[in-house]
């Protein structure tokens, strides 16, 4: 069924009575919320949002699963992910060091599109469900291979309690403590 056009026209404006009525209506809505504000403000440092599992947050690398295919570095739209060459011990031949490529990420450039996570053929990358991470300097945002394998520290967790936002029919977003 294709869309239909519905021609509408503006209400004719009434006289004095209509004016008084709409003034009172506006004031009544104002007073209603003045009495019961129905807030959903997040008191940020005291509370923090616990996102759902699908949230595209910071990316963590699992080195053991990586097959060095470099697909993540190639798909990255903002060139945030780069491959680095490392010399490491080959588990099969402990005496012979081998050279391998692993991805590292630059969070100055990352836009959290999640292409790298989606393209990884072995699920060696995954999203953490949070984005409130603080770096002290820009240089810290270039993650080393070691740092890329750890979930970044989240200062909110130590300072606040988690809340979950839910959609409510009456009040819009409501926060629920966990």
């Amino acid at each position: 069924m294709p869309a239909r056009v519905s021609l509408k026209s503006l209400k004719r404006r009434g006289g004095l009575f209509e004016g008084i009525k709409s003034n009172i209506q506006a004031l009544a809505v104002g007073v209603k919320y003045f009495i019961d504000p129905q807030r959903s403000t997040l008191l940020y440092p005291k509370e923090y949002i616990e996102h759902r599992p699908g949230y595209r947050g910071f990316i963590v690398f699992i080195k053991d699963k990586c097959i060095s295919c470099a697909a993540c570095a190639r798909i990255c739209p903002s060139a945030a992910m780069k491959m680095v060459r490392v010399t490491e011990v080959d588990p099969k031949h402990p005496d012979k060091p081998r050279q391998k490529q692993y991805p590292v990420i630059n969070y100055q450039r990352c836009i959290f599109c999640g292409y790298c996570v989606d393209i990884c053929p072995t699920e060696a990358l995954y999203h953490t469900p949070f984005q409130d991470v603080v770096y002290e300097s820009l240089a810290d945002m270039f993650l080393t291979l070691e740092a890329f394998q750890l979930e970044p520290g989240r200062p909110s967790v130590s300072e606040g309690s988690p809340v979950v936002y839910e959609v409510d029919e009456e009040r819009g977003l409501i926060k629920r403590r966990r």
Binding site: A26, G30, Y33, F34, P37, Q38, R39, T41, L43
Partner: protein
């Protein structure tokens, strides 16, 4: 004995009324009004508003923090301004704004009046309240900035229209009590024959006119942010800006005191005694509370209304507010004729 002397000293009208109530009280009321404006707007808008500055006080300390910021901020004086006018006008605005308090009696006893005679106090106080907007025009002109000039031009339009309404509407009680003496008007309203109830038209007109002429938030046409940045105050920064902004709130507060006296029964239903405490301090505090309520209701309107366009505001002044004020005046005369008050 010593205590009594101190009490008398405090109740010395120039000290109590102009310094303590005038400067400190007005400052405090301005702070509470700004805080309430932010909090009330926040409630209507489903937010919390100021909070983290002092969670237990509902964020009140943020106003103090703001003041500290204004005081310690660098005052930038652009090279193109008229320096003397630019620097002196904000101070003059504040002084002139407080001045009407010298002619407003806050007690029925002559001893506690700031000036000896209150015979024409309402007229003089109203005349003095019309002074600060003139200085605002000077302010905009001295800034030598396009937005300032447009802003002060708007200010002059708005005051021309609404000062008249405000004066007419506030003079309505004088018409019904046949006196310009505020003390007499207040006494005539004892205990609950408040003119706001007997003559709601004039009260409404006065309320609207004060809201408009002091450019309270939803109607801040002269300094509306989205066309003229900050209007006359565009070039100001630091303490000078704070003086300008505070001046507006204090001016509204002075109007509110006059409204509380002539429409809301002043110190009624309380009957003042003779000693400084019951005769002066309590009645003045009652008036203060009533005035604060008027200011707070004005602040609440910020959340509900948008901004009128300049020509529409002027149109409303001549076609709606002025007839309303005249009707109120007429009704006052009928009240006086029928001896209802």
């Amino acid at each position: 004995m010593v205590l009594e002397t101190i009490l008398y000293l405090i109740a010395y009208p120039p000290l109590w009324q102009v310094l303590i109530l005038g400067f400190v009280g007005a400052l405090l009321v301005a702070m509470v009004a700004i805080w309430f404006e932010r909090k009330a707007a926040a409630r209507v808008q489903r937010r919390i508003g100021p909070y983290w500055a002092s969670p237990r006080l509902g964020g009140f300390m943020i106003i103090v923090a703001d003041m500290i910021r204004y005081v310690t901020q660098q005052v930038i004086i652009p090279t193109t301004v008229d320096k003397i006018a630019f620097l002196l006008t904000p101070v003059a605005v504040l002084v002139v704004t407080i001045l009407p308090l010298a002619f407003i009696p806050l007690s029925p006893h002559e001893l506690y009046w700031p000036v000896a005679s209150m015979e024409y106090s309402l007229l003089i106080a109203l005349a003095l309240t019309t002074l600060p907007p003139l200085l605002t025009v000077v302010l905009g002109w001295a800034s030598s900035n396009k937005f300032s000039v447009i802003g002060s031009l708007r200010e002059s339009y708005v005051i021309t229209a609404y000062e008249l309404v405000a004066v007419l509407a506030i003079l309505a009680p004088a018409a019904s009590t046949l006196s310009f003496n505020i003390v007499y008007i207040v006494e005539a309203q004892q205990p609950v024959k408040w003119l706001a109830i007997l003559n709601p038209l004039a009260f409404l007109a006065a309320f609207l006119a004060v809201l408009m002429s002091t450019s309270a938030f939803p109607f801040e046409i002269p300094e509306s942010e989205h066309e003229v940045v900050a209007g006359p105050y565009t070039e100001y920064s630091g303490i000078l800006y704070a003086l300008n902004m505070g001046g507006g709130y204090i001016r509204r507060f002075i109007y509110a005191i006059i409204i509380a006296l002539v429409f809301l029964g002043g110190w009624a239903p309380y009957t003042p005694g003779l000693d400084p405490f019951t005769g002066f301090i309590i009645p003045s505090l009652i008036v203060l509370v009533k005035a604060s309520i008027v200011v707070l209701v004005m602040s609440f309107l910020r959340a509900v209304y948008g901004r009128y366009r300049l020509d529409q505001a002027l149109d409303a002044a001549w076609r709606l507010a002025l007839p309303l004020a005249l009707l109120g005046l007429g009704w006052s005369i009928i009240l006086a004729y029928m001896n209802l008050i």
